[in-house]
């Protein structure tokens, strides 16, 4: 039998149901993979070793007595900005280094109710935006090259899933924090529609844009997890009451007849040529499967970075204003953002909130012609931790200048966005593509992404670290 840590959540559940493996074996395999983490990716802040094994025993019994849930016995990780009952939740910062929540976040309750088992709390850029290399728990490292960042802010989630420590880890995304580490680590990730997954118990970065969702190696696993995470929760005023779609059912639908837009402006204007080629190749694959590829334009896309940044800064400034006198306790990255937040005017913040409608109108026009939009996952590759510079052609950019270039629009509009790996670039580092759809149409993201993974092997590529 394969090393159970190599398998997807879906494959594990199949083995459990067939009696060919047990949750105890799978959880043990993942914990074993994580044991060398501190010397490699540094993706784990807190291991849940004993409670995970206890839960795995219970899950194993449930398969025997026929009461197993849909994710019964599946090991998963959780970004350390998401509350876990009885397990410290640091926010990636020593400021909350001793905080042990009394309750699980709503989405954790749901996954555990479905049978999922938390095996580790995964590192994050502090408070979902802090320092990529000088955080309080040390730099998290990309398993494809330990000198490079996995990206963030769900850095540990991306690194751990790529390193085969877990099949799935839950992250959060306010400007690209699921999709960026997914792309740079060669795994898949979905930022759901704003309000689709309750964020009660998730440390907020910017309440107007915050979402939470899974990272995994396959789109199939993303669909299985989102299926149990989505839906209204009374404790979250931003969570939607709209019915939850059939995400796992959507996987079987293919892309024949779908209209897929490819933006002709902004997204490819600053983009590594290999990544731009991957977008073109993906479009050809979808066309060969019966999709119609349609060139589109999103006229105000150039405004998205500024709108996103000013909203995030204004809202994080409000959320953390009670700690302004503790500025020195934040890591240098986050404290810099917190200081900057104090100089965003109320007028500019309100203007940015009001201008969201302009960006949404562009997407509404686009979605009157197409069902999905295909974009680069990111314009560049994971930068080195010692300088955080991203190369695009013969130019270098500081990562914050371009990292959210292809991701911010989904947060500003609120639409769902899926990232899937699309191979390796000229430097043998992962690259990805992104798939956007109308609000609450995660099914279309999954249809397109799953089709892509049925026809390519990019999602099966493992970093040297995981193979070793």
């Amino acid at each position: 039998m394969s090393d159970l840590a190599e398998l997807s959540a879906t494959e594990l559940v199949s083995l459990f149901r067939a009696g060919a493996a047990t949750p105890v074996e799978a959880v043990s395999a993942c914990l074993e993979r994580s044991s060398a983490d501190a010397a490699t990716t540094n993706a784990v802040i807190t291991s849940c070793y004993e409670p995970a094994l206890d839960a795995a025993e219970v899950a194993t019994r449930r398969y025997r007595d026929g009461s197993a849930g849909p994710l019964e016995g599946v090991p998963f990780g959780v970004k350390d900005t998401i509350a876990t009952k009885g397990v410290r939740t640091t926010g990636g910062s020593s400021i909350y280094g001793d905080w042990i929540p009394h309750d699980d976040a709503a989405l954790i309750e749901r996954i555990q109710h479905a049978g999922g088992i938390v095996v580790a709390k995964h590192s994050a850029f502090s408070f979902a935006l802090g320092d990529e290399s000088r955080g309080d728990f040390g730099a998290t490292r990309n398993p494809w090259d330990l000198d490079r960042t996995p990206g963030g802010s769900s850095s540990g989630s991306g690194a751990a899933v790529a390193a085969r420590q877990v099949p799935v880890s839950i992250g959060s995304d306010t400007g690209g924090s699921i999709r960026l580490p997914a792309t740079w680590c060669g795994v898949s990730g979905i930022k759901p529609t704003y309000g689709r997954v309750p964020v009660h118990g998730v440390m907020p970065l910017a309440w107007s844009l915050d979402t939470a969702g899974p990272l995994a190696r396959t789109v199939e696993d993303l669909a299985s997890f989102l299926q149990v995470m989505a839906g209204h929760d009374d404790r979250d005023s931003t969570s939607s009451r709209r019915p939850v779609g059939d995400y796992t059912g959507a996987l079987r639908q293919g892309v024949a007849g779908l209209k897929i837009g490819v933006p002709q402006n902004w997204f490819l204007e600053i983009c590594d040529p290999h990544i731009a080629s991957a977008v073109e190749q993906a479009a050809e694959i979808f066309a060969a499967e019966g999709a119609h590829i349609v060139p589109i334009t999103l006229p105000n896309a150039h405004l998205t970075q500024a709108i996103g940044w000013f909203i995030i800064l204004a809202e994080l400034g409000s959320l953390h204003e009670g700690n302004l006198e503790r500025l020195d306790e934040y890591d240098p990255g986050f404290s810099g953002h917190l200081v900057n937040s104090q100089f965003v005017t109320a007028q500019d913040y309100m203007r940015c909130l009001r201008l969201r409608s302009v960006i949404q109108a562009d997407y509404e026009t686009a979605f009157s012609e197409v069902d999905a939009i295909l974009v680069p996952g990111n314009p560049s590759y994971a930068p080195k931790l010692d300088n955080m510079m991203c190369q695009v052609g013969d130019r270098e950019y500081f990562w914050l200048e371009i990292a959210a270039r292809t991701t911010f629009s989904a947060n500003i509009t609120g639409i769902p966005a899926l990232s899937v790996p699309a191979g390796l670039g000229w430097n043998d580092l992962p690259l990805g593509i992104g798939i956007l759809a109308r609000p609450f149409d995660e099914e279309t993201c999954f249809r397109v992404g799953h089709t892509y993974q049925q026809l390519t092997d990019h999602h099966r590529l493992a970093p040297p670290l995981a193979v070793a």
């Binding site: 939607s240 105000n300 500024a306 509404e364």
Partner: protein, 100 residues
Amino acid sequence: MEQDDLRRRCQVGEPIGLDEAAVLAISASRGMSLSPEHVAGVVSFNDALRDDLARLRAMPLPYTGAVPLPSDALTWIENGGRRSSCADEATAITRGLPDE
């Protein structure tokens, strides 16, 4: 003369750069004591986003008729990506398009 220039830039919505003195004055008025690194960071951040901010401030936001509000964004999401007719009008004005 400087005062006139400042007034003109405010009237046309041109961003006014924050120099070190301005950052120190504003932070002091709020009782914040910033390190030289933080001051330099604010100046650098504002310089980097100055052009973007100018573009944002140049976008018209009407005061009469259908006024775009922050809540419109949430309504659009909840409507599955469709505007109300009221928001249609506001967005058309904001984008400088003829009324629909």
